[in-house]
Each structure stands twice: as structure tokens, then as C-alpha cells.
Subunit: 338 residues, 2 copies
Amino acid sequence: MAKMRSRGTGLPTLAEVAAKAGVSPITASRALRAVPSVDPDLVERVRKAAKLLGYVPNPAARTLASARSRSVMVLIPALTNQLFIEMFEMIEQVLSARGFEALMGHYHYDQAEEERLIRNYLAYQPCGILVTGFGQSEVSARLLADCGLPRIHMMELAETADVASVGFSQEAAGAAVARHLIERGRRHFAFFGAQLDRRLLQRRDGFQRALVEAGFPPALEIMTPEPSSIALGAAQFSALRQTDPGIDAIFFCNDDLAFGASFEALRQGVRVPETIAFVGFNDLPGADQILPRLTSVRTPRAEIGRCAALRLLALIEGEKPADTRLDLGFELIVRDSS
Amino acid sequence: MAKMRSRGTGLPTLAEVAAKAGVSPITASRALRAVPSVDPDLVERVRKAAKLLGYVPNPAARTLASARSRSVMVLIPALTNQLFIEMFEMIEQVLSARGFEALMGHYHYDQAEEERLIRNYLAYQPCGILVTGFGQSEVSARLLADCGLPRIHMMELAETADVASVGFSQEAAGAAVARHLIERGRRHFAFFGAQLDRRLLQRRDGFQRALVEAGFPPALEIMTPEPSSIALGAAQFSALRQTDPGIDAIFFCNDDLAFGASFEALRQGVRVPETIAFVGFNDLPGADQILPRLTSVRTPRAEIGRCAALRLLALIEGEKPADTRLDLGFELIVRDSS
DNA sequence: CTGAAAGCGCTTACAG
DNA sequence: CTGAAAGCGCTTACAG
């Protein structure tokens, strides 16, 4: 009987559920985990007892005993970009529908913070890993590889086939923007970048390459490592108008920069797209409302989250990975600004 | 020796650290937790051994043994509102600096989802709870009360003294907006609401009360339970211009609605503030950049997160709560739109 | 100031 | 299909 008391928190234990159902704790455990070998009648009885007592399994005990949790480590560069929130919400939805949960961490686009996070979260013995891109430090990369956990990289596409990825080609997206602006008759290009993460640089590379291939000189680059923001976009655009008034097309690495520039253009009376064309990136909420409505590249972040989570679950459940690389593409949404 | 092998994950265990330092596991445990009674030399040795092995405590084992984790349950209505992200990031910062971590959950402003979340997270045996506001279901409220964990409510101020809260008076904020618009000579008021959560209704109540007290009829209410968004603000404003062109001042429950209305006003050529004044809420990024620059109520969400986390840690560490109610106020930022 | 014993609430083999 | 035994990696009393 001593083993029958509730746990410290007052929550009921598996032993109590088992006693109420008249079975052994192991059978109760199996019944609740839907292990197939259990008599359906017993399963029913155990489930009823669990519900009656309001039983919730103790994840600490479960993790300790099995050396594996039902948590998936999800690493995201920042919470301040709605992009990643949309991806994460989808991940959560897929995971929770299958009885898993997300152990989410963000690292302000900082490799050292990411490394610390990985080390900490590994101690929670997650059953799988979802990471953003391939910009990890060497130490992080080693930690991820050595733990041997199923893992999928999101947003970027892997260059080699030995690692699974779900995303789209950032370079191709950059190139598509260049081609669009060229088709629209633009001749003097600028690229606005902030944060300067890996994927942004890939977009820039694609943009520049396509320009050069079409016979244009490379675009003027206005870059800063500080985080992207509306105010920054306004400031960058204002500066550009002073120094390079001849620019007639700008590709912004993120919509918020484009929003800021749009406001500044309105204030200064610079006509968009007549004088200068704007193309943003991500198609964030508001791109379709701002003046002028913003041309932008719609990125499939929710779908990336969904597919990555689904594929990870398949790996966790021992399935063979079919394709290791899933390209979900992107879509150029042409509106009034270009 | 059998007890000395690494754990399933390959991570080193406390026993290994203890062996390397030449002490018992209990002493190693105490040394790493900075229990004061341990010989400084031993602490040093244990720390060195831990660092050498790259030891990270197993949280599952720790939680199971102590019936208490170092996790704080943090409940947030939604991740899609930057407001809560800013509050949460501050909470995280305070917690992690003191060796705690956030177990964050969000519930799409849905009471049932919040209840499920509470039930699940309680199983993780958190050491404290940070919740947003007081709009929980009865069941949720009981779960929170019965677990007996230290708890602080954020954003809203409690009505009774038996529960701790850190926030500001939503009603007072609404009233301040009303008084400002009246001072500016406005006469025909509307209130735009979405989501219709508790705090929004409090702001509305404060707004309406102040209008009535000043001798005006109550404001026209344009309300919808759907989530707040830029597109919604544009649509609501467009509709209002059809039905009630005489309105000369709008208080928006959130800046994104105001942003959408600002775009629509530009499109329709409705002059702000000449024809109609706009006041937003929260002073989100972009409010100072949009055309016209938006008057808004700046809410101290980061400071709320910081103070709430700090006070919770004090409670966790057994301190007596000084004030149970901390009013951090708000600030009306008057810009060009009113 | 340090340690041996017991136990947290589960699950993993191993029997039957 | 079901169960008794052992153990996951820590910490909590309890001794000394």
C-alpha cells in the first residue's frame, strides 16, 4: 500500500490507475500507450480508470525509464519574425495530433546561443530534431550528428543527400526576383539586406547571379547585420535616395524593410513603381494592404513546417526516408509595387 | 562498475562526474547545485570534472527525484501578436539568468485549449506559473489554485488582493484615449474591436465610460470575434465609411487594425487626422513609421514580463509577497494621426 | 561537511 | 496476453 500514494504534486500515479482497474501497473502502462498485445477489455477498463482519476502520465518518469521522450526539439532563429511563428505553429499542430510535443528554442540568430540550446535540450532526451537551415557552428553540427537522433533541416535545401531537408531554393527565389524586375524594364538595381543570415545571402547570390547573367552590373548592396525592421527599411531607403537616386528597383530581403521604404517613399513623394520598383520577401501580412500593394515572394513556411514534422515522425517511427530533400518552391506574387 | 556506464543517450551521468572527482554522487550533486555545505575544494573538483565530461544534468531524473523541476509554466494567448513575444522574451531572459527555464504554451485565445495546456504542463511539475490575465475557465482556475504553485497573472490587474498580478489598468488606458480624443475636439466616436478578449473589453468599457462621463453618447462599436489583422482593419474601416461617414474619431483595439484602416484611408483619400482621427493600441513596431504616424498607447509588456518573472522567482524562493498588485501603467504616444 | 540507503513513477527486458 | 523484477539518473531524508 505504501506504493499507492499519490505523487508529490497530488496527481494520480499509474499504480493508482492500475489498482482501480484491477490490473498490474505494467498492463496499465501498456494499455495507455496502446501497445497492441493488451486485451481490449482491459484496455477499456484502464482507460476508464485513468479518465476517472484524471490521470496524466508523468513525463519525467517516462523519459527516465525509456531514455526517450515524446518531445521534438525545434530550433528557430527568432520569434520576432512572424515567418517562423507560422512554421512553428504548424509543427506543433502536426506533433500534438500524434501525441508528441515541441520543445521549442530560439537563439536570436546567434550560433553560440544555438549551441547552448542544443546542449541543454539534448539533456531532455528528445526523440527527434527540427532545425532551421544549415548555419550551425561546427560544434553544434557535431552535437546534432553525434546524438544520432532523427533530424530534418527546414527552410534551406541540403547540398548533400546524407541529410534530410524540407524547404526551397533561396537562390532560385532571388534569381526569380531579378528576372521579374528585368522584365519590367528596370536597369539599376539595389539589394537591401539586414540580419545577414545564410539564407539571405543565398537570396542575394541568386539575385546577383541572375542580373549578371542577363548582362547587368551587380546590384548595389545596402547591408547591415542589425535585425530587420520597418524603421530600418525607412532609414536605408532614405539614405539610398541621397547617395544613389538613379536606382530604379530594390529587392528587399524581408517585407518589413520594404514596408519601411514604402512609408518613406510616400513621405518623400517618390513614386512607386513609376520612379522605383519594390519587391519584398516572405509576403508577410500587410503586403497586400500597404500602399502601393507590395510585390513579394511568398514562402511556404507553414507547409515546410507541416512536411518537416510529418517526415520527422516517419523517421522516428522507423520508416526509411524516401526523398531526403523536399523542395516546396515559392511563388512570386506580383502586385502594384513593381 | 555496472552503475558507471553512460546513459542511453551517451551523455555522461552524475556518477561518472563523481567518480572522476573522487567523491560520492551525492556530494557531486550538492556541489553542482551549489548547496552551501560542501567543501570549496570538492566543489572545485566536481565542477572541473563536470566541465571535462561535458556533463549536463538529466532534467527527467532531477524532476522525478525532487518532484519539482526548474521549469516555469508560461501561458500566452497567442504567438501571432508581437506583444506577447516581447513579454515572453523578457521572461525567458530573467528565468535563464537564474537557472530556470520557461515551459511556454499558447492557446489561440481559447479557454478549452488553455485548460488542456494547464493539465499537460502540470504533469511536468513546474515550480511556478505565469499566466496571462484572468480569463481562464472555471476548471482552469481550479487547476491553477489547487496545485498550490506560486503564480502571477500578467497584463491585467487583479480585483482582489489574494492573487498576485503585474500589469496595468486596461480600463484606464481606454479612458485616457477617450479624453485625448475629446480634447482634440472630436465628437463622433467609434471603437474597433477584434478577438474580443477580456482585456479588450475592459479597454472598451473604459473608453465608453469616459465618453459618457464627458457627456457624449457612447461610441459606435464595430466588433468581431475573429483575430485582429491588418486586412480586417482595412475592411472594417471601409465598411464604416459606407454606413457612418460622420464618425470623426476611431479607437482601435490593436495597432494592426489601425494600420489596415490607415492604408484604406490613403486609398480612399480620406484625410487623417483632418477628417477622422485614429488612435491605436500597443504601439507596435511600425506605428511610428506609417502614414500618418499613428497615435497609440504604449503598453509596458517587456517590463511586465520582467517584473512578473522576478516576483515569481521571489515567491519560488520562499519570499513573502510584498505587493500582490503591481501597476506598471501605460503611455499615450501622440503622433500625427490624432 | 560527507555518504549509504531508499525512492521518485514509469518502462524495459525477461518469463510464463 | 499478463506480470514480477530491475533499473533509468537523480535527490531526499537520515546518519555520522
